[in-house]
């Protein structure tokens, strides 16, 4: 366990060091913005990883909760006069409640059936956001009021770099905490063998639901952060492609690895920026890189590389 404890604090320390060090090498505010995008995506992916990597349940509609978080901070202050910070909490609570209500029936499904059911949930939420244009601005999206905390207006890519970086640190800390607890073990147990988990007393339905709600709240907070940061929000953030992007981050980085989700987000967000020099071949190359990465690093980037390092160290 001492080794695991170390691994946990090492992950946190490395992440904190990276967040603190990057500003020294960033030449322009554009870099701060891209890095903030990475932190936000990583936050959502870490939550989804608790559901997919730990508890082994797939969600193909996770952007729905991201969208709810984003639109909560857009609609709350604009239409209902709720302070922005409170709207963020309202979004998280709403996401949690929706996950709880929807999760109850659909988490009984397994594998492909669960994938389709969550896909349906994602499509439904995106549809509501697109059509309720009186509230959401429809397909064009809507502006988001700036976040003010105790009179401090949070704005600018430099500030948001630190805010989202801090959020990611807290999110990482919580996800790592969960691992070595009865709840975390129950997640991993039901992933490996539901029937064995049941006969030692794990209420499988309850723990699947908990993982789903946790993942939904992570996504919602990430969505709110992105909306504040951009000052604008559109339905794409709640759409199917964004759901797929989140799943890709989790799988590419490594299922079950918290650090993997951060690395996956870094790769999937920065790679398209780096590939823009190839202009129209950008998407082709992105797809190719993902395919090659998955062929050679079947367990995802972080677990595969750390496995390789361990083998090297032994031989």
């Amino acid at each position: 366990m001492r080794a695991l404890l170390n691994q946990r604090s090492i992950t946190l320390l490395v992440l904190a060091a990276v967040i603190a060090a990057l500003p020294f090498v960033f030449p322009s505010s554009y870099y701060f913005r891209v890095a903030s995008l990475v932190w936000v995506s990583a936050l959502a992916a870490i939550g989804l990883n608790i559901l997919m990597g730990q508890a082994g349940q797939v969600s193909l509609g996770h952007a729905a909760f991201f969208g709810i978080g984003a639109y909560a901070v857009a609609i709350g202050p604009t239409h209902l006069g709720i302070p922005p910070w409170a709207a963020l909490l309202v979004g998280a609570v709403l996401s949690g409640i929706l996950a709880y209500l929807v999760g109850r029936p659909i988490l009984r499904l397994k594998g492909h059936y669960l994938a389709i059911a969550t896909l349906g949930l994602g499509v439904l939420v995106a549809l509501v956001i697109t059509t309720e244009s009186r509230w959401t601005g429809g397909p064009d999206g809507m502006p988001v009021e700036r976040l003010t905390l105790f009179g401090w207006r949070v704005s600018g890519s430099y500030t948001w770099y630190w805010v989202t970086g801090g959020l990611l640190l807290v999110g990482t800390w919580i996800a790592l905490n969960l691992d070595e607890t009865p709840t975390g073990r129950a997640f991993r147990a039901l992933h490996d063998s539901e029937v064995a988990a049941q006969v030692v007393g794990v209420d499988v339905a309850r723990f699947k639901l908990q993982a789903f709600v946790i993942a939904a709240i992570y996504a919602s907070l990430a969505g709110s952060a992105l909306a504040f940061m951009n000052g604008f929000i559109n339905p794409d953030q709640a759409g199917f492609l964004h759901s797929v992007e989140l799943v890709t981050i989790v799988v590419l980085g490594g299922l079950g690895s918290v650090f993997g989700s951060i690395v996956g987000a870094a790769v999937l967000i920065t790679l398209p920026q780096a590939l823009t020099i190839f202009q129209e071949y950008e998407h082709l190359l992105l797809g190719l890189i993902i395919i090659v990465a998955m062929i050679f690093m079947r367990n995802g980037i972080v677990p595969s590389l750390s496995g390789l390092l361990v083998r090297r160290a032994r031989s």
Partner: protein, 260 residues
């Protein structure tokens, strides 16, 4: 005194009566073995008793409480634990973590303290790990504590399952072929282990094909054939019953065996 009582259990799969009118009872400190040829319905019976399948008829009482149709985790909370014939270990967890999951019901498991890693969570974790290590030592797996369970050899996995089942501190323990695929030495160890568990007052119900083991440690034996109860009695009674030989070897084989 009985703690587990199954009465007139039956289940059908697509018209085939896999288990049909089986009754048995288990008492604290006693070892009841259920034997029978392949396909006699032993594992199906276990699946019903442990709540994995729902019986189409009959009732199950655990400590004088009707538990018919309860899901497995509820039965586990009432003191029923089991192992599986086809291994069901948590492959991606270490051996120690496997046993720690077995302590699930003995742990406080609230979400918020877990998310923020309060001192009580860390303390409980330490206690659970200590308890798990003791159990691993008991089944001879102490050195494998931090090895991923998926990389353990077959015999070790069998013992790991027993340790995990014991971690719940059950009152009734169902063991589905614990010695299958084990060599003579390993079987001997498992034999000792089962007797120790029974001596602590646990009611043990055993499904096993190793007749030497069964005859040696059982207090009572129930023989099933094609889903129906054939004979029930002490090991001596069962061994001498011509119907049992016939069930295993067929009529012809039984005659041969009688002459031998």
């Amino acid at each position: 005194m009985t703690i587990l009582k199954a009465n007139d259990i039956g289940i059908s799969f697509g018209g085939v009566k896999a288990v049909d009118g089986v009754s048995f009872s288990a008492s604290p400190g006693q070892i009841l073995s259920i034997i029978g040829p392949n396909g006699a319905g032993k594992t199906t019976l276990f699946n019903i008793v442990s709540g994995v399948y729902t019986a189409s008829r009959g009732s199950i009482h655990l400590a004088d409480e009707d538990v018919t149709g309860l899901p497995p985790h509820r039965l586990a909370a009432r003191g029923l634990s089991r192992t599986f014939q086809n291994l069901q270990i948590f492959q991606r967890m270490t051996a120690c973590e496997n046993v720690m999951v077995g302590r699930h019901l003995r742990e406080k498991c609230s979400l918020l303290p877990a998310l923020f890693r309060t001192p009580s969570v860390t303390r409980q974790n330490r206690e659970t790990r200590a308890a798990a290590l003791d159990l691993l030592a008991e089944v001879g797996l102490k050195d494998a504590a931090d090895v991923p369970a998926g990389s353990l050899p077959y015999g070790a996995c069998k013992r790991l399952e027993i340790a995990r089942a014991l971690a719940a501190e059950p009152r009734v323990l169902l063991l589905d072929e614990p010695a299958a695929g084990c060599n003579a030495v390993e079987t001997e160890e498992i034999d000792h282990l089962i007797k120790q568990v029974a001596d602590r007052g646990v009611a043990v119900v055993l499904v096993e094909h190793d007749m030497k083991l069964v005859m040696k440690i059982s207090d009572r034996i129930l023989v099933l054939e094609r889903g129906r109860p054939l004979v029930e009695g002490t090991p001596r009674e069962v061994r001498d019953d011509p119907r049992v030989l016939e069930a295993y070897l067929g009529q012809h084989g039984a005659r041969e065996a009688a002459r031998a």
